[in-house]
């Protein structure tokens, strides 16, 4: 009787505590890291988790083949057994979702990106990493977390507040590479048409029209991705919109896509595509862009991924390998801006081998290992010190119309690249709606009306 009363009282107390804890916080409670028992000694010991095994889920990417040869070194150094599963992007994220939502903990470390991480972090599926980074026992000396490009590293941090707090709060993922956007062009076609590299979007439209006149019937001036999918509004068109000062939300937190600048940017974008791309442009995904440009059908790849460069430059894979130039994205009224797609590695909060998982992650994102992967083809480097490596610099020197052009454009782009979308688990849906409005406008021309309708829909979702 006595014991039961105590238990009951304790139960009520716990419940009361829980209730008050929940009351004012909603989804902004930061889960605490579940650090493993720290190994003895005050220093980093790579063999601290010897004998454990971890499983990784990687998305098919050049990065993966640069890392695989290095895994045996890691295993030898730490005594940790590593198993990797590699899946194509869509399938990989599907499987990851199945695992995370079941809290099965099957994968300890996985490749991910900020957009997905906003959903995962909000759901509590990611292990916050800042304590691991700060621990001298778990992280090798010389890790130098400040060496990461600030904007890119910051994209992995979030306070879990909806629509704000990027760059602050817990660290959810460590970057391993990033992609941003540029203008890739064919110098020979420009010369033939008497066109200079466009500096603004209006100049781009001009260039398209001049190219139209000089190109044969089965070649087109311009290509860009345009499917009704968030990558259009997050990355490629998103970059253009940002240079018009248009982001998904404006400074007051209202949906800004249908503002006068938003409509202006959209209309110019559509005009460029309509004048310079084939009729089926509204169905182009990134691989139509990649293949189309590599096969020589287009003069300009517009606001497209700089990561396509290795393919363009490879004579086995492209018909234009000796005729490619790179330039920064054109400028809009508010200057130049690009989005960025950042690949990260994150840790499963349900992992049963967190110590070993962290050992792997900090090894993977260390200066030495990342540089090895960059040299083997994992682009683009996320650490500021990466370009100090002479080999790496020499490797990309050949890319572009003149030596060093690619690197110059990349460094310039890195300064303006950033993730300028509000963090929110429903962001994918919102971006999709925006993309769909753009596509609809391509077919029916009612840009302003479509954008306004989309804005209203997004407003309902995000608020």
């Amino acid at each position: 009787m006595h014991r039961r009363k105590l238990t009951a009282a304790a139960g009520v107390a716990v419940a009361a505590l829980a209730l008050t804890a929940c009351a004012g916080q909603g989804s902004t409670t930061t889960p605490s890291a579940d650090l493993p028992e720290l190994p003895d000694g005050a220093e980093y010991n790579p063999r601290a988790f010897e004998g454990e095994s971890i499983r990784l889920l990687f998305i098919e990417h050049p990065f993966v083949s640069t890392v695989e040869p290095l895994i045996p070194e890691f295993e030898a150094m730490t005594g940790i057994d590593v198993e990797i599963e590699v899946l194509a992007e869509q399938q990989g994220f599907d499987k990851l979702q199945a695992d995370l939502s079941n809290k099965a903990g099957n994968y300890d470390v996985f490749m991910t990106d900020p957009l997905h991480n906003w959903q995962y972090a909000a759901a509590g599926w990611l292990e916050p990493l800042e304590e691991y980074i700060a621990s001298e026992q778990l992280t090798a000396p010389g890790y130098d977390v400040d060496d990461f490009a600030p904007g890119i590293y910051g994209a992995g941090r979030w306070t879990l507040e909806p629509l704000q707090g990027i760059g602050e709060g817990s660290t959810w993922g460590l970057p391993i590479n990033f992609e941003s956007y540029n203008l890739t062009y064919r110098p020979s076609m420009f010369e033939a048409a008497g066109v200079e590299v466009p500096e603004t979007y209006e100049e781009l439209l001009d260039a398209v029209q001049k190219l139209n006149a000089s190109l044969p019937a089965d070649q087109y001036p311009i290509v860009t991705r345009f499917d009704r999918y968030w990558d259009l509004t997050y990355l490629t068109f998103g970059s253009m919109a940002q240079s018009y000062g248009v982001e998904l939300l404006d400074a007051d937190g209202n949906v800004a896509i249908a503002s006068p600048q938003g409509v202006e940017a959209a209309e110019l974008f559509l005009e460029i595509v309509k004048s310079g791309s084939p009729d089926d442009a509204a169905a182009f995904t990134w691989y139509e862009v990649l293949q189309g440009f590599a096969s020589g059908r287009f003069a300009i790849a517009f606001n497209e991924a700089d990561l396509f460069a290795p393919t363009y430059e490879n004579p086995d894979e492209s018909a234009v390998s000796d005729d490619v130039g790179y330039a920064m994205v054109p400028a809009g009224p508010k200057g130049r801006s690009t989005g960025a797609w950042i690949w990260q590695v994150s840790m499963n909060s349900a992992s049963k081998h967190k110590g070993a998982a962290w050992t792997f992650m900090q090894w993977l994102t260390s200066k030495e290992v990342l540089n090895e992967t960059h040299k083997a083809g994992n682009m683009n480097p996320v650490r500021l010190s990466a370009w100090e490596d002479a080999e790496l610099a020499a490797m990309v020197d050949e890319w572009g119309a003149e030596p060093g052009q690619y690197r110059e454009v990349l460094e310039g782009t890195a300064e303006i690249a950033g993730i300028r979308v509000p963090p929110h688990p429903e962001l994918t849906r919102a971006l999709d709606i925006w993309a769909e409005a753009l596509q609809k406008s391509y077919f029916d021309g009612n840009t302003e009306a479509n954008l306004q309708e989309a804005a209203a829909q997004i407003e309902r979702i995000l608020k």
């Binding site: 990417h61 198993e83 399938q91 979702q97 199945a98 695992d99 099965a104 089965d218 590599a294 018909a319």
Partner: protein, 287 residues
């Protein structure tokens, strides 16, 4: 034959030939195109106008069968491993479905308890359920039961695909079997199982063969089960083929070669079973 009949016969022959050619072109063209793609280098694959004449290369097949250290992350022999996995799972799934399904179909046909159709329909309703509905909870269940990444688990999950096919196709064939044959056997003293095995099965052999081939093919082609419920050890070939889709490239040549390689077992199974597909009821009945 007079001229009119000759003309009619001639033109109908032309008509039939044209029909066969049309069907074959429709069925074969994409296959031939994929076959060509599997021998093309990347720049030939994306070339426009499309190339029908090109310099063939075995690089894709080499990469699929033996792995390479290029940008494909499949190691040596990995793809062949996937083939083996798919073979085990699909053959196992069909075998289990035959074992379980044929007697069930027979029982449903002969046992007049009045609810056969409902029960049979429930089996069919598996096919109605999009796998998506069950796959995520199934993943959780499999993890708990230790069935994840196991051949047994996959074989069981594939029953969702193979059982409806087997039960219903066999059932449709069963209704063509005259009851009298079975009754003769029963009067001779055979129980239902023996009747099924000795008398009925030989008669419906074409039906069982068709059902088995189709069930095998659908199981082989399935993506979602293998994606979510298989891990590194039991990954099937369909998931393996999609590894051709990288983040920055689609390796069409590799994908084509992988698709051709993974179609081979199905072709062999189909060819082997073809002999059972020929000639029907009269053969068995004449005995």
């Amino acid at each position: 034959m007079d001229t009119k009949q000759k003309l009619a016969r001639g033109s109908s022959k032309v008509g039939f030939t044209a029909a066969y050619v049309a069907i074959m072109t429709f069925l074969l063209f994409p296959i031939v195109w994929v076959l060509m793609m599997s021998f093309k280098g990347y720049d030939d694959v994306i070339a426009y106008p499309p190339k029908f004449v090109f310099e063939p290369t075995l690089a894709n097949y080499q990469s699929v069968l033996f792995g390479d250290t290029g940008s494909m992350s499949s190691g040596a022999g990995e793809f062949v491993g996937y083939l083996g996995n798919s073979l085990i799972v699909s053959l196992g799934a069909v075998a289990l479905s035959l074992l379980v399904g044929v007697p069930a179909a027979y029982a449903l046909m002969r046992n007049r308890i009045g609810k056969e159709d409902t029960i049979a329909f429930t089996f069919l309703s598996f096919r109605f359920a999009p796998e998506l509905m069950v796959i995520i909870p199934l993943y959780g269940i499999f993890q708990t039961m230790g069935l994840y990444d196991s051949y047994l688990g996959l074989i069981l999950s594939h029953q969702l695909i193979t059982i409806p096919l087997i039960i219903w196709i066999v059932r449709t064939f069963l209704q063509d079997v005259p009851v009298e044959i079975e009754e003769a056997a029963q009067i001779d003293g055979c129980g239902p199982l023996k009747t099924l095995w000795r008398i009925v099965l030989p008669v419906i052999r074409p039906g069982v063969a068709s059902a088995a081939i189709l069930a095998f093919i659908f199981s082989w082609n399935n993506l979602l089960m293998g994606l979510v419920l298989a891990g590194g050890r039991t990954q099937p070939v369909t998931v393996g083929i999609l590894q051709a889709i990288g983040f920055d490239q689609v390796r069409w040549g590799w994908m084509a070669a992988a698709a051709i390689v993974s179609a081979l077992p199905g072709m062999l199974v189909a060819l082997y079973m073809q002999k059972h597909l020929v000639k029907g009821l009269t053969m068995g009945v004449g005995k």
